[in-house]
């Protein structure tokens, strides 16, 4: 069991972490603007390069390179640009292209509904069972505290399918199908959302599976397949990154009762215990949108993400000071523990655990 902190300790923790945040925010400026613009340029170049190469799709090498580049561009757009921009990390730049209110990303998921569920629900109720709908995405069972249902026996297959169709999964996630089914939400109230999902999804289909394929004329099918591959690369990658953020071994879950009158210190405490980092090189961090620093991201969701790198040692020192775990490991190790966890929980809890 992780160390429990007294309310005085929690207040002190909040103060220490606030100080780290203040220090970073006071430096935000020109450097961050230049950084995100550089990434924006890279995203444009990879997309134009990728789509351009697909015009040579009769050549398998060009086809593969084009599809991969396009996949990389979608990853940059979704992870390092979209996700971070929509957290408001660059709102201070006052640039309509990079403002959380207006940003729209290259994925089937409509940004408006995502901003609400992700920024508010997931980041407020991180890993609170029954409140954080991102915990297992309403499909996977990842803790024995979750009730076992027969469909969990095949949840590894559900997981693979979710990863393959991740953009559509995230998009439909907003519909709260499980709550609709139970009658907790009315279909009528979901009408505007349904329209938004259809509109956004339709646009993505139009672009990737009609417009650009048609533009390449006789290479219609090659381009269509290339775009599908690019989407697949992005889906698998983002799903893997996101699963590594909250589901590796040692990441804790919380009961709904903790949310009543929760102090800022306890919120920080819960974010630290409910997130996990992974280590790697500079490009792994960029391609993951710095969600490799998931702990820092959850503590400071609106600080420009590339600053997590320099904030991390300070956060680790704070964790050590209060005897809290700082969950990190190599990318491979963290991912393996996620897979292990998915498989482990596809069976009901062993008797002795259930009794305890």
């Amino acid at each position: 069991m992780t160390k429990q902190l007294t309310s005085q300790q929690l207040d002190a923790l909040a103060k220490d972490l606030d100080a780290i945040r203040e220090e970073a925010m006071s430096q935000v400026g020109e450097r961050d603007a230049q950084y995100i613009r550089k990434i924006l340029r890279l995203q444009r170049l990879t997309e134009i390069g990728g789509r351009g190469l697909l015009f040579l799709g009769f050549n398998p090498v060009a086809w593969l390179a084009g599809s991969t580049l396009l996949g990389v561009s979608k990853i940059l757009d979704n992870m390092e640009i979209g996700h971070n921009v929509m957290h408001g990390q660059y709102d201070w730049m006052n640039d309509p292209r990079l403002h959380s209110n207006t940003f729209e990303w290259d994925t089937a998921c409509d940004s408006d509904s995502w901003r609400r569920t992700h920024n508010y629900e997931h980041h407020t109720y991180t890993n609170v069972l029954g409140k954080d709908r991102d915990y297992g995405y309403g499909i996977l069972r990842l803790t024995h505290e979750d009730e076992f249902r027969p469909e969990h026996r095949v949840q590894f297959i559900s997981y693979v399918l979710l990863s393959v169709f991740f953009q559509w999964g995230v998009s439909l996630h907003e519909m709260e199908a499980d709550r609709l089914y139970k009658g907790e939400v009315k279909l009528r109230d979901k009408k505007p959302l349904m329209k938004a999902i259809l509109k956004k999804g339709g646009r993505q289909v139009f672009k990737d599976y009609l417009f650009f394929p048609l533009l390449t004329g006789p290479l219609f099918f090659q381009t269509l397949l290339g775009n599908a591959l690019a989407n697949l690369i992005r889906n698998l990658w983002s799903s893997t990154i996101i699963f590594c953020g909250h589901f590796p071994e040692g990441v804790q879950t919380f009961d709904e009762s903790v949310c009543d009158n929760e102090s800022r210190g306890h919120w920080y405490y819960r974010q630290m215990l409910g997130s996990a980092n992974f280590q790697g090189g500079r490009w792994l961090h960029i391609m993951s949108g710095h969600l490799s620093y998931q702990v820092e991201h959850h503590l400071f969701p609106d600080v420009p993400a590339h600053r997590y790198v320099e904030m991390s040692p300070k956060v680790q020192a704070v964790a050590e000071k209060y005897g809290l775990p700082y969950n990190t490991g190599s990318f491979g190790r963290q991912y393996l523990t996620v897979l292990k966890r998915i498989i482990e929980h596809s069976r009901p809890a062993p008797k002795k655990l259930a009794a305890a």
Binding site: R37, R44, N94, R97, E104, D106, R115, N119, R203
Partner: protein, 372 residues
């Protein structure tokens, strides 16, 4: 919506927006390409109207004049109008509004305009701008805006101009233009500064008065003469009630002048005014203030009505889009989902239902929820 785009609804433009949305998730394909060229263009990319700096002239130790040459697409202006300057300050796009202090005639003749700017000691942009322009000679410039101009129908009316502090700038433009046009309409300018000798353009104004018999310039300072009062006008411009009045300066002066003129029975349509500097947040209403709920960030603030919703939101770390901060540029337009707000610029109360409001000039009257 971008800074430069206006909502237009011709079928073509709608189709283009849809197409652009589908392809690049943005209202304009231009937005998509711009970042590629950003190292070569500055502020706002190619869609943004720009100007080149010709010179910086210090009028006093606190006021400088930028002499700017707008690029070819700039459409000119009428004396009394203002422009937005767009600069990038430490990575952040920032807009500030300034009245043009030179005449349209100068623009036609030399292609330049002048903006006279007072250094705000607490401000971040005005003290920084002169040094910044040493490095980048190019600056974002909007088309001219504002209806503080002498309309054609009023050209022949006798005028009273009341200026306070840097509020002299549009009058300098109007008087210089009148001079160039040999427009002999009877004009009295009453110009208040805080101390003697602090009047901007004093020499230029006196020169105009000397060369143009129909123009009189009266320089007053509040230190010796006190604030605007009826006796000042009676003394220097006894027929002020018969004149068209033009007011520009700090909010206190404008309010005082409007009240005074109304008391003397001057009709509203004879009075034209332009607020200068930050829009005042002064609400007499007893119900000002309330709980402000920010939907997107989930934050909530107890506001007392002394600050704009933009300031309130920023005080808790929210960063809604913003611009001029004085209710002009509409960049901070934001959806109010419920509650009543007062627009301090127009004095209008909103309805209680959902509508777009300007955060920088709105204060809550009771509990308000906004989509920021």
């Amino acid at each position: 919506m971008s800074i430069t785009q206006t909502t237009s609804n011709s079928l073509w433009q709608r189709a283009y927006r849809q197409f652009s949305q589908a392809l690049v998730n943005s209202d304009s394909l231009q937005h998509y390409v711009e970042p590629l060229f950003q190292p070569f263009t500055q502020w706002g990319g190619f869609s943004q109207q720009r100007a080149q700096l010709e010179a910086i002239r210090w009028e006093s130790d606190q006021v400088y004049t930028l002499v700017l040459r707008p690029n070819k697409t700039w459409q000119g202006f009428a004396a009394g109008q203002f422009v937005e300057l767009g600069v990038e300050y430490n990575g952040a796009r920032t807009l500030r509004c300034f009245s043009i202090s030179s005449s349209p005639e100068q623009f036609q003749r030399e292609g330049t305009i002048e903006l006279s700017i007072r250094v705000q000691p607490e401000g971040k942009i005005t003290p920084w701008l002169p040094q910044a322009l040493q490095f980048s000679q190019s600056i974002g410039l909007s088309q001219a805006m504002g209806d503080f101009v002498i309309e054609d129908a009023h050209k022949k009316h006798k005028r009273l101009m009341i200026a306070g502090g840097s509020g002299i700038t549009p009058f300098r433009s109007m008087l210089t233009q009148a001079c160039a046009d040999s427009d002999c309409t009877d004009t009295v300018l009453v110009y208040y500064a805080s101390k003697a000798g602090e009047h901007l353009f004093a020499d230029a104004l006196n020169e105009i008065a000397q060369n143009t018999p129909s123009v009189r310039v009266v320089l007053l300072d509040t230190e010796r003469h006190g604030r605007l009062q009826a006796s000042h006008l009676q003394q220097h411009c006894p027929d002020f009630c018969d004149r068209d009045s033009y007011l520009c300066g700090p909010s206190g002066l404008i309010r005082g002048a409007r009240d005074l003129l109304a008391d003397w029975g001057v009709a509203d349509d004879q009075v034209h005014f332009e607020l200068f500097g930050s829009a005042p947040v002064d609400v007499d209403s007893a119900d000002a203030g309330g709980r402000v709920q920010l939907r997107q960030s989930g934050k909530s603030i107890q506001a007392d009505g002394s600050r704009s919703l933009l300031d309130e939101a920023e005080s808790v770390g929210a960063r809604p889009q913003s611009g001029c901060r004085i209710g002009v540029c509409h960049q901070c337009k934001c959806r109010k989902t419920s509650g009543v707000v007062l627009n301090t610029r127009t004095g209008a109360r909103s309805d209680s239902g959902p509508e777009d409001i300007q955060l920088c000039v709105s204060v809550p009257l009771g509990d308000v929820e906004i989509d920021a």
